[in-house]
């Protein structure tokens, strides 16, 4: 044997031992080296000696080992690229078919197949498919998971994931000769050389596990078969609905039939005089703004139809309903504040913040020279001042001339608040200095 570096040599590895082993029971020769540089050198020597079924083992990848062992570059990147591009095409196709062909629906006017909007999902699909391919491809090409490996039956080899470095030549290499390999390793400076016997643990699956797997497989077939049967047969029974969510109810819907009633309809007409809950408005002064007489039309339920307002409003004083002149609500400071708030929201756009008919909408319409524009009334003008509060209330509710009614938007309480505020606005144009409280008058006097 050739001289080697001053490190231990296990007693088992004698020429005699290696020569005596029948070749079938050895799967290769394993040698340990002291560090990455030594392993690299050994790998080069092994490669130069012409062995091909070789491998090096280390706790971390060693730079330059690929060349030293003669490892060809893996095809993995190409596979990943192909799968990635397929994923790209697939993603685009999926979105096109699902959103533009099978169930086209418009989203805010965007084209059915909007490429800019479809890019993010496509990109993610590319990455997902490529990543899976890289991972699974790596495992597949490496032959992992590999549950059993004869190398691991060497106790020493377990150090490969810690700090040990090994070199291996397989017995089925064409140039293999146990003797020569051992000598080569010693020349390369191995600190330990041994042959690796074939694994003695059984490589066939135990019968019990095979049975268990078969049973599991059989059981696993049941659900798809059940689904297949369900999809290819008809049934009178209703579908399974795990979350019924009150989907199917036994009450009769509006348009359905019913044999309980002579006319066969499930829908029943209302009994005369029926009023919905909350719709019974006794207080005419509050809800209508006027007291209806016998020759007036029947008091309209809220909300009043708009066209009913026209004959009532267009008629001159002769035919006027009996408008109330007193507020049917308590007049308080907070009601006034609320009136101001609501007036500014609903009325000011047309009538202006001071109620003088100079709201922004009106100004704009005039600016655009709208031929059909009727300027809003100046609420502080004498005719409106003369109107009873009920009439103002009625105007808000039902509209007047070109103004439509706000019954739907403003509840009655708020409408009276607005009327109160309108009165305040009117007062503001027709008040005298004496009517103003002392402190506020002083402020006004000081203003220029």
């Amino acid at each position: 044997m050739t001289p080697l570096s001053a490190t231990l040599l296990e007693p088992e590895t004698t020429q005699q031992d290696v020569a005596d082993e029948p070749s079938g029971s050895v799967c290769g020769v394993l040698a340990e080296f002291s560090g990455p540089k030594e392993l690299l050198r050994a790998a080069e020597m092994v490669r130069d000696a012409g062995y091909t079924k070789t491998d090096a083992f280390s706790p971390f990848p060693i730079h330059g080992m690929d060349d030293a062992l003669g490892i060809k570059s893996t095809i993995l990147p190409v596979i990943v690229l192909v799968v990635g591009l397929t994923g790209c095409a697939g993603g685009l196709l999926m979105q096109w078919w699902m959103n533009a062909v099978d169930y086209p629906f418009l989203i805010s006017g965007k084209p059915l197949f909007s490429l800019p909007a479809n890019i993010p999902v496509t990109f993610e699909i590319i990455v997902l498919t490529s990543a899976f391919t890289a991972f699974l491809g790596m495992l597949g090409l490496n032959g992992l998971p590999k549950p059993a490996n004869p190398l691991f039956e060497q106790e020493r080899f377990r150090g490969v994931t810690d700090n040990k470095f090994f070199m291996y030549v397989a017995a089925d290499d064409p140039k293999y000769d146990g003797q020569e390999v051992v000598e080569l390793f010693h020349r390369a400076g191995a600190t330990w050389v041994d042959d690796v016997p074939n694994s003695t643990s059984p490589s066939r699956l135990p019968g019990a596990i095979k049975m268990a797997l078969l049973v599991l497989f059989a059981i696993a077939l049941v659900p798809p078969l059940m689904i297949y049967r369900a999809r290819h047969t008809t049934s009178e029974a209703p579908r399974f609905d795990f979350f019924p969510d009150m989907d199917a109810q036994r009450y009769r819907s509006a348009q359905q039939s019913s044999d309980l009633f002579a006319d066969g309809r499930a829908m029943r007409p209302q009994v005369a005089g029926t009023i919905a809950v909350g719709d019974f408005h006794e207080n005419d002064a509050f809800f209508l703004g006027y007291i209806p007489g016998e020759d007036d039309e029947a008091p309209a339920d809220e909300p009043a139809p708009a066209d009913a307002a026209a004959p009532a409003a267009g008629a001159p004083a002769a035919n006027e309903p009996d408008y109330v002149t007193e507020f049917p609500v308590e007049v308080t400071e907070s009601l006034m504040q609320r009136g101001q708030l609501k007036f500014n929201i609903y009325c000011a756009p047309c009538h202006g913040l001071a109620g003088q008919g100079d709201g922004l909408v009106s100004l704009r319409a005039i600016e655009l020279q709208q031929p059909t524009w009727v300027p809003p009334t100046n609420l502080t003008s004498p005719p409106v001042v003369a109107q009873p509060v009920g009439k103002i209330y009625d105007t808000i509710t039902n509209g007047r001339r070109k103004m439509s009614g706000y019954a739907a938007q403003i509840p009655p309480e708020d409408r009276w608040a607005i009327v109160l505020y309108v009165r305040a606005l009117q007062k503001s144009q027709h008040a005298s200095l004496e009517e103003i409280p002392e402190d506020k008058a002083a402020v006004l006097k000081n203003q220029k």
Binding site: E38, I62, H63, L76, P120, I125, A131, P145
Partner: protein
């Protein structure tokens, strides 16, 4: 055999003629393995049990709250007209953002050949996975009828008879976040395979050997396997890099494609990504500073590693500040009164308190990292990074809530108030995060041993052999 006898090397000294060692303290390969494996091999320290008890209590509370939410409905939250996106979305973006640091450390720093990443990447990737788990829960539960969440997937639905709307950023989110979770998991797991093999080979108990063995897939350190492994690692890194950019970009699209003032700014995509990396690195430091002390990792995660991370925080924090400045400028420059109002409102409106918290935590706090002393002192970094995370939560809050509470129509303005459920859920989501993290620390290799071994200075024993051979 680690010898702590050598004087600690100061790796933060700037010396252009030499690269500081990435591992200090005279380690060799075996001592690295010992250091990391002993964490899971030793008897579980009491502190771990206490911490685990606290975090798992919080986790259980979290799931109970979720049950309550599903039972009662989304009304238990503060979301209401007009602020329909409240804490849940803010929490989602917060957690997703934190996750980005892990992928950046793993993938982007790998592509830039920053070898110092090897000590922290496993830790950070784990943080990413757990942060994404927390993140994914919030959009899942906020839909109301959670049991129909599968409708978001493009499967042939007989009940619905229709497909998801691929033009919606919310659906892009579904794809982006699930892809991100999957790819991060793959990357993390693949990185762990060699280390799980180490654990398998070093474990004493049969059960541990079996479990680690199953997950190590039979890894044996073969150079041929390493070749394909490295290729796959590089491919995953190259894929994860645009992925991490795209995920937070898609999250930013949730806001930026809208027409809402304060939301619709074209700078959102890179701004959000920078912000995500910013908050993620802050969380890594927050976790790493105590971890390196308690797990004895000071030689592997040196002050230089921490300093590098602080520099990244400073850089990304400056990018965030830059984006604030540009947004502000454009709000004025564009001449859109609604946009201008939105920004004035942020700074001086009813949420000014949130805005100024955000500015002081995001813009001012990281500026302390200009000072070398601050970025090489662990307890200082720890405090600043907590502020950074607070600031980043507030940033998402400011963006989401202020723009919604004061949008175009004044008559719909309202002030959003969170409910106790909102706050409890957010707090308890940290419980879930820490529970998973504690489990990781206890049972899995928290440092990428194989990678560290490949970049550490050659151990003395090998160097001696070199000289002799």
């Amino acid at each position: 055999m680690a010898t702590a006898l050598a004087a600690p090397v100061d790796t933060t000294i700037e010396d252009p003629t030499r690269r500081p060692p990435l591992v200090t303290g005279d380690h060799d390969y075996q001592s690295i393995t010992d250091t990391i494996h002993s964490i899971s091999e030793h008897k579980t320290p009491r502190a771990w049990y206490i911490a685990f008890a606290v975090s798992s209590t919080a986790t259980v509370t979290f799931f109970l709250l979720i049950g309550y939410l599903i039972y009662q409905g989304v009304g238990v939250w503060g979301n209401n007209n007009p602020v329909f996106w409240g804490w849940p979305i803010v929490n989602f973006v917060f957690w997703v953002g934190i996750g980005h640091a892990g992928t950046l450390i793993s993938a982007i720093l790998f592509l830039f050949r920053q070898n110092w990443r090897t000590s922290v990447n496993r830790f950070a990737e784990a943080m990413t996975i757990f942060a994404v788990v927390c993140a994914g829960i919030f959009p899942g539960i906020h839909v109301g009828r959670v049991w129909f969440a599968y409708w978001l997937a493009p499967y042939p639905a007989t009940r619905l008879d229709m497909w998801p709307n691929f033009r919606s950023p919310l659906l892009w989110d579904v794809f982006a976040v699930s892809t991100y979770a999957t790819v991060s998991l793959l990357f993390w797991y693949m990185g762990m395979i060699p280390d799980l093999a180490t654990f398998r080979d070093r474990s004493k108990s049969k059960i541990k050997q079996f479990v680690y063995g199953v997950f190590a897939l039979g890894w044996n350190g073969s150079a041929r396997h390493w070749h394909r492994y490295e290729k796959a690692y590089m491919l995953l890194a190259a894929l994860a890099t645009p992925l991490v950019l795209s995920v937070h970009t898609v999250v930013s699209f949730d806001f930026a494609v809208a027409q809402l003032p304060g939301w619709h700014a074209t700078i959102f995509p890179p701004y959000f990504v920078a912000g995500a990396v910013f908050s993620g690195f802050a969380m890594v430091i927050t976790l790493m500073v105590p971890a390196r002390k308690w797990f004895g990792l000071k030689d592997l995660v040196t002050l230089r590693h921490l300093e590098n991370m602080c520099k990244v925080i400073l850089a990304t924090g400056s990018m965030v500040g830059f984006a604030y400045a540009i947004e502000f400028f454009i709000a004025w420059y564009g001449g859109n009164p609604y946009e201008g109002f939105a920004f004035i409102n942020r700074a001086f409106g009813p949420y000014a308190w949130a805005y100024w918290t955000m500015v002081s935590c995001n813009v001012i706090a990281p500026q302390f990292f200009w000072i070398k002393k601050v970025r090489t002192t662990p307890w200082m970094m720890f405090i600043i990074c907590i502020f950074v995370n607070i600031g980043m939560w507030f940033e998402r809050f400011v963006i989401t809530v202020t723009s919604l509470s004061r949008d175009f129509l004044p008559s719909s303005w309202a002030y959003f108030k969170p409910t106790p459920i909102d706050m409890a859920m957010f707090a308890c989501s940290f419980g879930l995060f820490f529970t998973l993290f504690l489990l990781f620390c206890r049972y899995l290799p928290i440092v990428a041993m194989a990678e560290v071994k490949s970049v550490m200075p050659v151990p003395e024993s090998e160097a001696k052999n070199d000289a002799q051979a």
